[in-house]
Symmetry: C2
Subunit: 420 residues, 2 copies
């Protein structure tokens, strides 16, 4: 049975009502709810694991890869980690109510710009079941109601986690519509959600290119994309080559399947002959396939293969790296601004002037000097939490944490002022 | 001839290139360009006025109203005001490069969050020709390239203003694609623009409901809407009634055609019998038509008419006001959150507690206490400039000035850190 607009309207109305309540809940109350939810996740672990077993059985029957099945699997230890994560969010400062600015006008009006929740946030994800609780509690802490739409492969697990959060949260005063999941794996439900701008203030899609393209096309409300990361490391002619190898190996190999892993290596031509053979050996010994421009190909050993034009704009998420020799810093910057995804890029150099030019001119959310791209991450930035990494430039760019889940409003206090 | 994607691609590419240049222009250089543009607007006044005369002739032939023709009309004095406005923008502080936060991590990474331009902004407007220069110079000051699409009735004027800005700006170093207008009044051009997310980072539509609905449906890039203002004044039972009348009259009558004018008056039932007859007389003497709920109708004199359900969500932009008696502060807040447009709402009361509840619970961009809704304005807030008033909650809410035309990025400086 397909999911209808009337069904969404029910969910949307409840979320809207909850959002108005959440917006004025005290920090103490929200934290009490968060602790109750953390306890509830542990209390309802047997039910969650039983539902997770259904997803695992379906996944095996559908022939999903071992890696995907592992991502899907919950156990007591993973459930405990979810609960610990929720308690950590309770410890974070509450962004809502923060006075961002205040001033007085010559006519005596006193103005304040204060942080408020956004309202109702829809999160669409294709990922581990723990995202269900992570995303919900970040929305809750920032005073937002959330409508979740997880991947169909984790449907039973996600529903069980939501039910646990709702039941446990209710005991501590969680408004009924604060955390809801679409009760369907129907693909059309995403389209219905995208048209519900009356009830949803923001959609955050996290997932594959196709999903994000679809949400971007269909959504009538604002979208903050968590798109691909085509991240670069540029090894400048003034680089410390030992450092460069360490950073390149870390950026490519430490966790190749994530968006802040390096996908393209750019090397200044003056050091290419010295740097590339050693670097290639280090990478190839870790199983990395190198796809090279004509100039780098002969420097990267017999296993390297030629790159095609498509390689420069491909997010491999695997042990594959495209390699290009560039004639100058400017050409490295141009390459990144042309082929990159404005996510994360790094320069390795001992030349501070070159570094500052790179930092200023590369148009990406995170630009690093002498550090691995893998540091582009809410946790590594010290944000204490992360809802994802935005590849948009509007509202939130790069790692998104609690403040990025808020809006603001202006409060104006007068004593009878009228405009003349 | 219809406007094609290939034509937009030319404009888009030029804008992209210009945006990368603008992002690293010094404040001194940008201000020199702004002064050159201001001088150019005056220098090219004869050409601008000649083109304006064509628009005026067309408007008269098309039978546009006198008010609309007046909005369209340029003269020497209006051109001087445009130039003065540009010089004022040059005096404003440059938002780009501002360090919004900086901190160091335990691993020695030094992080900075710095303000950057957004990139390429498209502005769609249906308004006075001076918006062409106002919007362009705000984008320029904040380091953004702009693609303009004005109303067809002002096409010749807008093009002449753009040509003047381009020619004069070029002398001072304005990049070629920094300020461009779509060279067509073709309605389909808006659709082509909405699909060009490769070249446009943000669309700001300012205009009628239909235009905004269309952009919201079609745009693949972020949109910041400048939608309608269904603004309320709530006169509480503890209001100073003299003050309330002054504020109500000002909010409705001082300039009824703008988005921050009041459209609905809410009155607490305890003071309705005392307040409404006097208030109605003041309003009716200024030509305001009152559309009343059953309780307020008998209190507003014989000229008042009954309100329909549609009145509560109508932006009149005229001397019409809907009036409703409410039983409580809570009901006033509920009415506003249900029927309002989250733009601007005001409470008149001597009761500070009631005021603070209203300020906290009304979910609007600007919420006022004892002041006219007409103060919800970038100029009145002291922002020195205004691109418009956002009715969205994402990125920019309420009056938008230079900082709202920026994004940010993270700069991370290390000494070889890798992630373990």
């Amino acid at each position: 049975m397909s999911f209808t607009e009337a069904e969404l309207e029910m969910i949307g109305r409840m979320a809207r009502e909850a959002a108005l309540e959440l917006a004025v809940l005290s920090s103490t109350r929200k934290n009490a709810i968060l602790h109750a939810i953390a306890d509830g996740i542990e209390e309802f672990a047997p039910q969650i694991l039983a539902e997770n077993a259904k997803d695992l059985a379906n996944a095996e029957a559908a022939g999903l890869s071992d890696a995907m099945i592992d991502r899907l699997r919950l156990d007591q230890s993973r459930i405990s980690k979810m609960a610990i994560g929720i308690r950590e969010v309770a410890m974070l400062p509450d962004p809502v109510g923060e006075v961002l600015a205040e001033w007085e006008r010559p006519n005596g009006l006193r103005l304040q710009k204060v942080r408020t929740p956004i309202g109702v946030i829809a999160i669409i994800y294709e990922s581990r079941p723990n995202v269900t609780s992570d995303a919900s509690v970040l929305c809750l802490k920032s005073g937002n109601a959330v409508i979740l739409r997880g991947g169909s492969e984790a449907f039973h697990s996600n529903c069980a986690i939501v039910v646990a959060m709702q039941k446990a949260g209710k005991r501590a005063g969680l408004p009924a519509g604060a955390i809801q999941a679409l009760p369907t794996t129907d693909r059309e439900a995403v389209s219905v959600l995208c048209k519900a701008e009356r009830y949803v203030d923001l959609i955050i899609p996290r997932g594959g290119k196709q999903l994000i393209e679809r949400v971007v096309s269909e959504a009538r409300m604002p979208v903050i994309k968590h798109y691909e990361g085509i991240c670069h490391v540029y090894v400048d002619k003034a680089a410390d080559l030992e450092m460069a190898i360490r950073i390149v190996v870390n950026a490519k190999c430490q966790r190749p399947g994530v968006c802040n892993a390096m996908e393209t290596l750019l090397v200044h031509k003056e050091i290419a002959a010295e740097f590339l053979p050693r670097c290639a050996e280090e990478l190839q010994s870790r199983g990395v396939e190198l796809r090279c421009c004509p100039e780098s190909l002969p420097l990267c050993g017999p296993k390297a293969i030629p790159a095609t034009e498509a390689d420069w704009s491909t997010e491999y998420l695997a042990l594959i790296l495209s390699v290009r020799v560039v004639p100058s810093l400017e050409e490295a910057i141009n390459h990144i601004n042309r082929y990159g995804s404005k996510h994360t890029d790094s320069i390795v150099t001992a030349d501070e002037k070159a570094a500052e030019v790179f930092l200023a001119r590369v148009d990406s959310a995170t630009v690093l000097w002498n550090a691995s791209t893998r540091f582009s991450d809410g946790g590594e930035f010290g944000f204490g939490a992360e809802i994802g990494i935005s590849t948009d430039k509007i509202h939130a760019r790069g790692p998104m944490a609690l403040p990025e889940l808020t809006s603001y409003k202006y409060l104006v206090r007068g004593n009878g002022q009228i405009r003349t």
